[in-house]
Subunit: 318 residues, 2 copies
């Protein structure tokens, strides 16, 4: 079996991966399209320890498992949980202490001829949704985590910092909730993609600094994006950290106290509403696709995804 293998920061296409036996309650999925995510790139950079097949964004066909799933086109939640620990019992399964995470923690990912996932993680993809949309279910769900966490109201002034893959999806999710986010980006080419959602984009920091936003969402994952988001907030405003950060972050904690700012970490989100938004066409992410590589050229695809200014890179089975 082929797969894009990460070990000690080194990425290789391996053709010798064993086809393991199917555990009970799991299915084997043959991916039909896969997406490269910032987390893949951070795993490559060694920010988290992971060795195995990379990849967690996919749409695919169930090729082994119970008959009700066989041949079904699916997407799937990436956290595999124990169902028994305190987090699981409290309804915080995504924070299960025993969890494995597809291509991220203790479980081989989807950049391979096939991979495994628990049955309970699966969602059937409606026929009308093309693979090129369905493959965005996972990152769109992550964007949809924000309205799950915050009590957003129409009229709230929202800033999205970053016009990349994640910032684009977050802005579209907010616009769909009848909010009017402003996106601060660096690339006119990307900001123009927001126009059809009537979302305002700007490359001009002075337009957003000290403008007293109620909510600022940092989708950059770097210290400078965080700082811009912080300075754009009103007192008692909320800063959502939507992206992981490379290395430690230094902050003026006293200013957070004096201004009573809230910081909210935000990770995985709900798949069902994400798939619904892709299905009803209210969010169409296909304009974010910036390139496609065969799985065989997956190493090059991941390198391409790491280049500055590149939006979504997809991998397709060879």
């Amino acid at each position: 079996m082929h797969g894009i293998w990460l070990d000690d920061g080194k990425l290789t296409l391996r053709g010798d991966l064993p086809r393991v036996e199917l555990p009970i309650d799991e299915v084997r999925i043959r991916p039909t399209l896969m997406g490269v995510c910032r987390t893949d790139l951070e795993l490559m950079a060694g920010y988290y320890p992971f060795s195995g097949v990379l990849g967690h964004e996919f749409v695919g066909m169930v090729e082994e498992g119970p008959v009700e799933w066989l041949g079904q086109r699916v997407v799937g939640e990436i956290n595999s949980t124990c169902g028994r620990c305190r987090s699981c019992q409290a309804g915080r399964g995504n924070h299960c202490r025993e969890r494995t995470v597809l291509g991220i923690v203790g479980r081989n990912g989807c950049f391979a001829d096939s991979f495994l996932l628990p049955q309970r993680n699966l969602l059937a993809v409606p026929d009308g949704v093309p693979d090129e949309c369905a493959v965005f279910t996972e990152p769109l769900a992550a964007a949809m985590r924000i309205p799950e966490q915050l009590d957003l109201c129409p009229g709230d002034r929202c800033l999205v910092v970053g016009d990349g893959r994640l910032g684009q999806l977050v802005a579209r999710v907010l616009a769909r909730q009848h909010l009017s986010p402003i996106v601060l980006g660096r690339h006119e080419r990307k900001l123009v993609l927001l126009e059809k959602y009537q979302i305002e984009g700007t490359v001009d920091r002075t337009r957003i600094e000290e403008q007293g936003f109620d909510v600022a969402i940092d989708c950059t994952g770097n210290a400078s994006g965080f700082e811009v988001a912080r300075r754009a907030l009103r007192p008692q405003g909320t800063l959502v950290m939507k992206s992981t950060y490379a290395g430690p972050l230094q902050l003026d904690a006293s200013a957070l106290v004096v201004d009573e700012i809230q910081l909210v970490g935000s990770r995985c989100g709900p798949f069902a509403p994400a798939l619904a938004a892709l299905s009803d066409g209210s969010i169409d992410p296909r304009d974010l696709i910036d390139g496609e590589f065969s799985l065989e050229d997956g190493v090059a695809g991941l390198q391409r995804g790491a280049e500055s200014g590149v939006l979504k890179v997809l991998l397709r089975p060879s």
Copy 2:
């Protein structure tokens, strides 16, 4: 007029302070008892730029102002607000951009023979409340800011990091709300004060680490206290930063994202419920008094308040 004057980090007792004319809508107060706060010490250390009379914790008598306040024993909110800016109009007066803050920002403080405060900031102190309790209204209000900000429920597992002045008040406020906080401290002498409120105290970090608290409140204002609070939280838990921090804080922002932690900055709180709790005796802070100095010896009093392990130091008019 005498007062404890701070200029460029240097503290002096001055006897030459002018008695300024009373602005419209303000009153002149003669303090009968004053409290030393960590913020005073941070202003002395130069963490914030302030030059003027220090002090913002007081109880006193109105000696000049409209007849309805004359001779009244009062405490008072320390933020003097414009009432017109966006923050004020939105009900966030404590975050008024034009604000002055008694003895902290742009307004001489209470460590003096007399000082000024807007009438609308005043609360009359009920007769049954001794000065030694009333002088705690401001810090107790700050502790009561936490249940205002968080949606706390009985059964929530709360940790208070720090057994000092602020940690003691925070723990008592939580206990009064039928929560069962645990206080992590360093001094058996202080932890024992919590017993009469049936609050559990410990000096043993291993007892609280990775115990999955729902809420952790850092009252230490130092990086190590923050880190302990952080590690004690469950995923999706809330870390309240109740104290200002000396210098920048370095944190693992990715871990906050992965665990979806919320950080909440917390500053000034509501005076009326604080005064009510002191009045009905449900919180009696007099066991926190660790020393008293005359205003004339105020410089020594502030130095005493800065010593490690010292609880509340009071100043009394000479």
